[in-house]
Symmetry: C2
Subunit: 133 residues, 2 copies
DNA sequence: CTTGACTCTGTAGTAAAGTAAAGAGTCTAT
DNA sequence: ATAGACTCTTTACTTTACTACAGAGTCAAG
């Protein structure tokens, strides 16, 4: 099974067929070669790419940003200077996201630990911890 | 300035007035008290809440999820047992997000370090690092 | 006491990211 | 060689999260 149909790819990546075609139109995945019939023929690599896109989306990246992340490869015309610039910018984004998540995480952990598991609560520790100071 | 108008809140939180009213309709922020004129009167706390909402959105949480996070306070009727459950579930989400971001981060860091700053590139290290193995 | 900036409600429009359906052609297992 | 499943393109619809009026009322400085 050296080449897969769009349906097989969709199943492996856990997304819909329409979504794959949509990403193709958006330029997030390359247009694959076609059979004489017009059927798309994919190789396994596209599944990785699709899974990556799903994960990055869950991290709050837009499709446009994901495209930029993925563009860190592609054409040999892209100079590595340009890539470096993009990568550095994305690192700043990511650093900020990790920090925010870590704070949420610490707060929630404390909450879970200290939580008696019964009785009422009357304040919002997560909001307090995240917004104060 | 013990109470603020919607315009002042919007400015402080860095969002639009319409967005604040939208969040109110969605239940993400409480309906504030009104003057006789009908004007909304906010206290400073709402700004923190709005900033939190913006940040959580950037982390890929939907408004529905953010509402759940924020519901970790509210009514004294919410038992702490329930809160504990929600907090634990959110912790799992967050843990996964942090891991993915850390991997992206390591990969991008290596890329930036090794990057000569000039010349062409012909593979996608971020995709490779995130999907292989 | 007026004028310009602000706020109100309600409705409608927009952008991003899909999702669905129609009508026609293709593949494959029996 | 044909029925059932799959794929093609094109167009339209949906959801989420805003964003923009329109028309009317309110506030505050001069």
């Amino acid at each position: 099974m050296n080449s897969m149909t769009i349906g097989q790819v969709a199943k492996k990546a856990g997304i819909g067929i329409e979504t794959i075609r949509f990403y193709e139109r958006k330029g997030l995945i390359d247009e694959p070669p076609r059979k004489e019939s017009g059927y798309r023929q994919y190789d396994a690599g596209v599944v990785d790419r699709l899974v990556f896109i799903q994960q990055a989306k869950m991290l709050g990246f837009t499709l446009a940003e994901i495209q930029e992340l993925l563009s860190l490869k592609i054409s040999p015309e892209t100079t590595s200077r340009e890539i470096k610039k993009i990568a550095e910018a994305k690192l700043v984004d990511i650093e900020a996201k990790v920090k925010m998540l870590r704070r949420m995480q610490r707060t929630l952990k404390k909450l879970v630990e200290k939580c008696p598991g019964h009785g009422p609560v009357d304040h919002c520790p997560i909001l307090e911890a995240l917004t104060k100071r």
